[in-house]
Amino acid sequence: MKSRGDLLFEIGCEEIPAGMILKASQELKAILVKHLSANGLVDEPTAQDSIETFGAPRRLVAIARNIKLKQEDVTREISGPPKSVAFDFAGQPTRAAVSFAEKQRLPVSKLTIVNTPKGEYVIARQLVLGKSAAEILKGVLPETIREISWPRSMIWTGAQSPRFIRPIRWIVALLDGKVVPFSYADVQAGNHTDGHRFLGKRSIPVSGPRDYEEKLKKNFVSCRPSVRRKKVEAELHSLTTPKGLRTHEDAGLLELVTYLNECPSVILGRFDPAFLALPDEILITVMRGHQKYFAVESRSGDLAPHFLAVINLPRDPKGLIRAGHERVLRARFADAQFFWETDQKTRLGDYLPKLAAVTYERRLGSYADKVERMRSLARWLSEQWFSGGVAQADVAGSDRAAELAKCDLVTEMVGEFAELQGIVGGLYSRAQGEPDEIAWAVYDQYKPLGLDDPLPRNLTGCAVALADKLDSLVACFAVGAIPTGSSDPFALRRAALGIVKIILEKNLPLSLSAAISAAAKSLKEHAPRIEASDAIQKQVLDFLLERARYILRERRGFAYDEINAAFAAGADDLGDAVERVAAVKAIRDTKNFAPLAASFKRIRNILEKSAGKGDKGQGAVKQELLRDAAELQLYTVVQKIGDEATRLKKEKKYRKALEKISELRPAVDFFFDKVLVMVEDEDIRRNRIALLGTLLKEFSNVADFSELGSEEAK
């Protein structure tokens, strides 16, 4: 008898939202791997490779190759009473043996005696016959469908029926060519799939993975996303290149259209070049956002009066589809043009009073209030930078940009295209003659939107972006709107990440705690006059530092303990802290440093223990009480190296400072070899503790080495 076979499993569905298909097919795989492994139907080491899954708008598909058609038979051992209880001195079974045998449905003669570490025991051996894969799959496949998770599922028959993302209309479940019989939400699994909604046949019989793809292909369904993506890419290229054009790259859109179509092809449409008078950002947003069209550029990068639409048919022989899409786009562009012209009738700054009617947060007032807070913060930031030696910091410009920043929220254009907030304000500012610096600052105010998003392009933009984000953080924390789990309605995590990223990458001199307290001051001085207590400010600082740690780990490749060591010596000036992290990383594995770090940890422990007994080691070292040569030597070395290290630190030569500190090692080692700290004599003890305290204090201001080697707290 054949021992292995292939499984074809297809969940046929009404159109699944394009953005969810990839994740669902990945989940489908994980769930199947889990169930098939747990039931011993696949060989564990190759389970991942023997199962593949993919998806298209109307189907999620899994193919499992070479799975066992039957579970192995296994012998189970059930342990019973000890031999001494089960058999009497004459070797006759007792009541205990008989009842155990009865329970196991075996004659007593079939019981076996085994030696265990606890002595001799009676056991029963039971042969458990493996179930057939079909039997197991009958239960596993409906469970698999149930386990796929969706952001928002639905019911379609009745309240009692199972949920899915959209109604399931057919199921193919074929194991080795035979149907696995089960039903889910009133749909009976079978061996018939469905072709393309308009061009393919309905109810196409398949026999398994062998003919499935071929039959779908004949029925105008390309079930593998990789094939669809390649076809779209090729056509985006072939439709533009011969005309001296190219596709405006958009990886996200490419992914989306790959999952929007079962039979994709691309058509090239045109629009009236007069619309090119609108800014590119608006044209591209209209094409992409609403219509899912790719924009087209000339070789020089200017937008061309063309678009590329991906359709779910192989061809458009009569040009009807193209004409339809062109007409829809014309109407969309006409709308955008109408918004542009209407908005331009009012100067951007004149929208300001309207912001008073737009609530930012119930307790935090309107956007007009937020703008006032942002202005004062943006001014403060620029003043800080200017006095910190950044010559191009522009106080008045930052103030003006902050004043204009939120005005576009009440324009028609942003009302229609919310994703263009900021950008529209920037475009209007420029069109109305604001200086470039200010227009770009408004344009860039929401940047960076993520770890890989670029920063505002100029310093004024950084001031506005920071002012906006700092105000959001401090204000929201002050009223308790703090992110929890997946709930972060004001995108505060993103704001914090943005703040850290701007400061780090622009290398701006700025004290985080001073910035937070400036935001708190602004919050207190402007309506609705909310107080952010010191505890709240500390919370915000920790929140920011958490993001900073994240960036340093994820993007700069620093280790958890390196960051902690440097941050423990202060992280208020982030740029400076990063330089110290880098110095720690560079030196941590050198000959003297690693053992020295271990000694520092020892010193810390001693000091903690002593602090527990009331001596924190904060007193001055009394030279006359230093008895031992080793402690005298340490004292001298600490003085000498301390002076030099301090000088190097002042010059921000952190690596050199750490190298210098490493030179402490012989003296520290010598000290611990020869000197007992916790001696009876209180004066001596106190003095030695003070020596260690001085040492730790003196040499922990670049980084706290005792943090090195500690594990990440989970």
Binding site: G158, L260, K318, A334
Partner: protein, 319 residues
């Protein structure tokens, strides 16, 4: 791909030219009445969407099967453009279909209705794109798509999950066709006002004055103080009725005017839309007023369900 000349495309569209606005409406109504739908009339109170018609809002509640089709002129004051915009209208015409429970072949039956009005399904790019519908004023939401015809939204296709704050069982499917834009598409015109309504009259001739005057009213003339007062009065009357219904103990439930309370709730919804278009509502106040309408709507839904249960032979069930 060889580019077809525009004149050729125009000829293709010319083949479809027979379908006037009214023929489109008649054909679709006929199509659905042939599939066992009741043919209902538009509701005689201002509504923003076909969903607000009691034939949808109330009929999807409870267990009784129901099938209905009707046209519903839908007023959206904020979308008015004085008749000057080729696509936006103060009042557009929806064709609404409710099928309860939702049949398993509903997508095919829907697509066949497009074929019935002359759309060759193999020659056009027709797709179902995710679009979950929600009406905060009605406490209703559903899962579904917008149906796109060559990039144009022509229908909202929704499996209702909740209505009036009540979880639905069975699930109804709602199809909402945008008749004006489908007609414009079929006739190959860019401006809805150029649509031929009948063989002798255009959409402009039939409807332009309405668009101009109602836009002018909601943007320029509506008196906000008195509109607010009307809102308050209608709300108070609806609330009074609903409280009176709740106080009933069995007797008198059957004839109690829950339906009137719903009409008053619809009035509130429209008055709110007028105020909103007039720019008289701040963002904060907006959420509050929506909540007031929703409170009435969900209360009506509960009362209606209670009333149906109290009546021995519920609507749609044979005695």
């Amino acid at each position: 791909m060889a580019r077809k000349s525009n004149s050729k495309v125009k000829r293709e569209f010319a083949k479809l030219k027979g379908l006037t606005f009214q023929d489109l409406l008649l054909k679709l109504e006929h199509y659905w009445t042939m599939r066992d739908c009741i043919l209902q009339q538009p509701y005689d109170i201002e509504v923003g969407a076909g969903t607000m018609h009691p034939e949808t809002f109330l009929r999807v509640l409870g267990p009784e099967p129901y099938r209905v089709v009707y046209a519903q002129p839908s007023r959206r004051p904020a979308d008015g453009r004085y008749g000057e915009n080729p696509n936006r209208l103060y009042k557009h015409t929806q064709l609404q279909v409710i099928l309860k429970p939702s049949p398993a072949d509903i997508q095919d039956v829907y697509l066949a209705s497009l074929a019935a009005v002359g759309i060759n399904l193999k020659e056009h790019d027709i797709r179902f794109e995710e679009d979950n519908w929600e009406s905060p004023t009605l406490g209703a939401w559903g899962i579904g798509w917008q149906v796109l015809l060559d990039g144009l939204e022509i229908t909202q296709f929704t499996y209702f999950q909740q209505c009036g704050g009540v979880d639905l069982d069975p699930i109804s499917v709602e199809l909402t066709y945008g008749l004006d834009r489908i007609a414009a598409y079929l006739q190959g015109v860019d401006n809805v006002f150029d649509v031929r309504w009948s063989n002798s009259m255009t959409y402009r001739q039939v409807r332009l004055a309405e668009e101009q005057q109602f836009s002018a009213y909601s943007f320029d003339h509506a008196d906000t103080a008195s509109t607010r007062k009307q809102f308050d009065l209608n709300e108070a009357e609806a609330a009074r009725l609903l409280a009176a219904y709740d106080a009933l103990k069995g007797a008198g439930k059957e004839r109690f005017p829950v339906l009137q309370a719903y009409d008053l709730c619809l009035k509130c919804s429209h008055l709110f839309n007028v105020l909103d278009a007039r720019g008289a509502i701040s963002v904060t106040e907006r959420a509050g007023m929506i909540a007031r309408v929703r409170k009435l709507a969900t209360h009506v839904a509960r009362a209606w369900l209670d009333q149906r249960a109290a009546i021995q032979t519920p609507a749609g069930m044979s005695a």
